[in-house]
């Protein structure tokens, strides 16, 4: 008995468990601290080694010490045991430590169920199609392990176990779909990810120093995707405004607090309608195409005086909204005229050479417009280079860039141009956002990546209001017309430089696929749920209605499943079986149920003691049934006899005194 115990769990099963645990932990290695990943791997390896060498499991005190040390390590690392990061770390560690004290099946169940839970935690980090597929496979493995451990000495081959667990998972699919479609989506804190879930995302920030956007340009992560209701506007019109930076401290540009726009705005021409799906960026602003139509703003957002759009909450989940844009605005935007003086502010004493240049240009210009054109002409005519890797700049950044290095990215041009304008007495400010993006023909939408981040300027002309001026266009017109990959000088490869057309095609189809996953699976929120059911003709459903339908749906699914199972168990129930089943049912209703393992003769004997008056009938029915079902040669008319006898068979309910 002792030897049997030490050999438990059987080696192949244990190896399967270890491998599956390694698979479920592996994706977490990307964000767990290195020591923790290594420790986990070491425990898994040690457990394998111990089983192989038949080494006894560690003693209790050692396990306690390990557990305490792990908790201490997690606390030292994260300063807490709560939250996503610390919670996952603790769960991973404790689950692997449990392997060192596996004594019976109960311990294995615990580990496997923790494993299922760990599967779930991956979705706190990543909800992509790939990880979903991966985790389905892992769940399949866990289910197979449950089956295997339930019959440790069974002869059932592995293939059959895999098949059985696949069958179990497939049987759960209808219930999963019903839950997914019908489970009430309530926007509230319950559904939000932990607060630390959205840290570490790249995106624009509320200030701009030289080098910040060029750094962003290295990232190919998607910022947002846009579907246009009509034709795709030309790339020169696809300016997506995020923030307006109007305060300059000599080095970086910063945004003022946004104020809601109150004045009426009239667009020129037809509005361009589009739907934008924004990736979470943990900031309150919503990118909109210039210039946002105040009549078609995203739900719950506000249009500010600087024409940026913000909402109250941070965007922590993928957000989908519809909006509209006018290519140009009709009236002058004088609502913010009080603040124009601020758009001339410059810190004193910085960039003296640039101030001098501005003065020169100003003196030689007829008016503001001429001044703007002269400044742009300087960028165009002088040997300025558009590059991703500009040299570092010192305290007089504008001076150094304009006169010495002459190599810069869009933020350098926007920054120095705006500086020149302000120094020359023209109110000016910087706008950051995204430009043009990449069109996916397969999915018919525009992908805008962090690499498409851009900065441009706006100047105030007394008779026209704010006018967009993009100094980058004067240096590298390709940037605006063909996208960033084509604007960089040769040899300066962006990650996106496409090596071959088919790879590009593949990338597009993958992104299109991923996009529909985002839209229809991850983006299935309250709004989509309501519209989905409205389109099916259910009207607007409250969450109570949804809950009711949910119960009905799941009940129905289980009912169908039960019906199916019961039917397949008796595939060919003939007349004989039906007649006898009716006989048994009558007796069961009277209080004498036949046990499924009770033979007909035994049953008859038991029934006869209760109903001596019916003995001859019971005997006749039983004799016919046994002869028909188990006998060698049967006559067809016996079936009729049996049916008649059963039909006439009636019993009184037993009264228990």
């Amino acid at each position: 008995m002792q030897s049997l115990k030490s050999a438990w769990p059987p080696r192949p099963l244990l190896n399967g468990l270890l491998a599956t645990l390694a698979l479920v932990i592996a994706p977490h290695a990307a964000h767990l601290p290195l020591w923790l990943s290594l420790l986990t791997a070491a425990i898994l390896g040690a457990r394998y080694w111990m089983a192989r060498q038949n080494i006894a499991l560690p003693r209790k005190w050692l396990l306690y010490a390990l557990a305490v040390a792990s908790v201490a390590g997690v606390i030292l690392q994260y300063k807490t045991v709560f939250g996503r990061e610390a919670g996952v770390a603790l769960l991973t560690l404790m689950m692997t430590l449990k392997l060192l004290e596996v004594k019976n099946e109960r311990d294995v169940w615990l580990i496997v169920f923790l494993g299922y839970f760990l599967v779930l935690t991956h979705f706190l980090y990543n909800q992509s199609l790939f990880i979903a597929a991966y985790l389905i496979v892992v769940s399949w493995l866990f289910t197979t392990l449950l089956i295997a451990f339930s019959q440790p000495r069974a002869q059932m081959p592995w293939r059959a176990q895999f098949k059985l667990s696949a069958k179990l998972l497939l049987q759960a699919v209808p219930v999963m779909l019903i839950l997914f479609v019908l489970f009430p989506r309530i926007s509230g804190p319950l559904w939000n990810l932990p607060s630390d879930a959205t840290s570490g995302q790249t995106g624009l920030s509320d200030s701009m120093a030289p080098g910040m956007i060029s750094q962003l340009a290295q990232s190919d992560s998607v910022a947002f995707r846009v579907e246009y209701a009509g034709k795709l506007p030309p790339s020169t019109q696809r300016y997506f405004r995020v923030l307006v930076l109007d305060r300059f401290d000599g080095y970086a540009w910063r945004a003022s607090r946004p104020r809601p726009l109150t004045a009426a705005v009239h667009g020129q021409g037809a509005a361009i309608r589009y739907t934008l799906t924004l990736e979470p960026h943990n900031k309150p602003w919503l990118p909109v195409m210039d210039f946002a139509d105040p009549a078609a703003l995203p739900l719950g957002s506000q249009l500010n005086t600087d024409f940026s759009v913000t909402q109250k909450e941070l965007v922590q989940q993928r957000k989908r909204y519809s909006a509209a844009a006018y290519v140009s605005l009709g009236n002058t935007l004088d609502s913010d005229a009080d603040h124009l003086s601020r758009d001339l502010d410059l810190p004193p004493d910085v960039n003296p050479r640039a101030r001098e240049l501005a003065g020169q240009l100003r003196r030689s210009s007829r008016d503001d417009l001429d001044f703007i054109n002269k400044a742009l002409a300087r960028f165009h005519n002088e040997p300025y280079v558009y590059t991703l890797n500009p040299p570092r700049l010192g305290s007089n950044s504008v001076d150094e860039f304009l006169f010495d290095t002459r190599r810069g990215f869009c933020e350098h041009y926007a920054s120095s141009f705006t500086f020149l304008m302000r120094a020359g007495g023209v109110p000016a400010r910087i706008v950051t956002g995204y430009l043009s993006g990449e069109y996916n023909k397969l999915g018919n939408y525009l992908i805008v990546r962090q690499a498409d981040a851009h900065a441009w300027s706006e100047v105030w002309l007394a008779d026209r209001g704010w006018v967009r001026v993009d100094p980058t266009a004067a240096v590298a017109p390709n940037r605006i017309e063909q996208g960033i990959a084509n604007a960089l000088p040769a040899g300066e490869a962006l990650f996106l430089s496409e090596p071959s057309p088919w790879l590009k095609q593949l990338k597009f189809s993958w992104d299109a696929f991923n996009n529909s996953w985002n839209q229809w699976v991850l983006g299935y929120d309250q709004e989509r749920q309501v519209s989905f059911f409205a389109r099916l003709g259910f009207g607007i459903l409250s969450w109570q209605d949804l809950g009711l339908y949910l119960l009905i749906g799941i009940g129905g699914a289980f009912g169908l499943l039960a019906l199916f199972t019961l039917r397949t168990r008796h595939p060919h129930r003939g007349k004989v079986e039906r007649a006898y089943a009716l006989f048994c049912k009558r007796l069961a209703l009277a209080g004498m149920a036949r046990d499924p393992a009770e033979g007909p003769l035994d049953f008859a004997a038991r029934v006869k003691t209760q109903y001596p008056g019916q003995a001859s009938n019971i005997d006749a029915i039983t004799r016919l049934y046994v002869a028909l079902r188990y006998g060698a040669d049967t006559k067809a008319e016996w079936v009729k006899d049996l049916e008649d006898l059963v039909r006439r068979f009636k019993v009184q309910k037993i009264h228990i005194r």
Binding site: Q151, Q155, A597, A632
Partner: protein, 310 residues
């Protein structure tokens, strides 16, 4: 049902009744023993000393009119003691084979697990082949050849438990158990059982038995019952309670025993009750429950209650 129409079957019923008067309160076990004989199997009786194992064996031989030998197995028993030896005969000027006690129709191998494995295997070979090979010559054993082995519960001292492969040679294993109060009273106050045995006249002749044995295979087994047998076998293999399931030979034994049981009860076709009646005796010694706290018979009994009759 056409019960008791067959004169042979009627004789069998009588036999059972006769036997039940001598061994009181053990009618089910007597029926199983006769079933085993009809199915051309061998019987293993496992119980404590003094429960009537020997009397049962003796009784069967007597009322069936068969030649009977009893062999007491001890730890120093040698195969030659069982099979026989050749002794030099001076008159004939040659070796003459003196057959051992195994040359009989009914053998009572008493306390088989007291003998060494060597002697055990000599017996088991004879059981399987119905012939013995001694000193290079193969000799056929008489027909019918029926071994009743008795075994002390294996936890008793000085026993060599039979391995699974050898247990499998026995078609049925039965336990006698203590008689109930009423039967015991009759035993205590009545005549000596051995005297009663001696007065019994055989009811069956050797030909009758051979005819009945030939009939066993002809008892009808419907598809529904094959399903039931398969369900029972599958349950022993899939259940986590058993470390060893029923072998295909176990399945065949189950069917043969059920057919013999049906014949003994005057039926020409098997009913589920027949299978249930013999299942514990067939499967009890072939199954090994996990853990060892539960006997194979008890586990088989509860398994029977968990499998539905199709």
């Amino acid at each position: 049902m056409n019960a008791h129409t067959d004169p042979l079957a009627a004789k069998l019923q009588q036999t059972v009744q006769q036997a039940a008067q001598i061994i009181l309160g053990k009618e089910h076990q007597i029926r199983l023993a006769i079933t085993c004989l009809l199915a051309r199997g061998h019987l293993l009786i496992e119980d404590l000393p003094g429960m009537g194992k020997t009397t049962l064996a003796h009784l069967l031989a007597q009322i069936l009119g068969l030649q009977f030998h009893r062999i007491q197995f001890t730890s120093d028993l040698l195969p030659a003691d069982l099979l026989g030896v050749s002794v030099y005969d001076r008159e004939r000027n040659g070796f003459v084979f003196h057959p051992g006690p195994i040359f009989a129709q009914v053998i009572l191998a008493d306390e088989i697990n007291r003998a060494t494995p060597k002697a055990q295997s000599a017996l088991l070979e004879a059981m399987e082949e119905h012939q013995v090979t001694a000193e290079g010559e193969t000799r056929k054993l008489p027909e019918p050849f029926f071994v009743i082995a008795t075994q002390n519960p294996s936890h008793q001292v000085g026993t060599y438990p039979l391995p699974e492969s050898q247990l499998d040679r026995f078609l049925l294993r039965i336990e006698l158990g203590y008689p109930d109060r009423q039967a015991e009273r009759a035993l205590l106050t009545g005549l000596d059982r051995r005297d009663m045995l001696a007065q019994l006249a055989p009811l069956l002749e050797a030909n009758d038995l051979a005819a009945l044995q030939a009939e066993v295979g002809a008892v009808h087994l419907s598809e529904a019952l094959v399903d039931y047998v398969q369900a029972l076998i599958a349950a022993t293999r899939q259940s986590a309670r058993f470390s060893l399931g029923l072998s295909p030979r176990g399945g065949i034994s189950l069917i043969r025993s059920a057919q013999a049981w049906a014949l003994l009860h005057g039926r020409r076709s098997v009913v589920p009750e027949d299978i249930q009646a013999v299942f514990v005796a067939v499967a009890g010694h072939r199954l090994r429950p996990v853990g060892g706290n539960e006997s194979g018979s008890a586990a088989a009994q509860s398994l029977l209650a968990s499998v539905a009759i199709p």
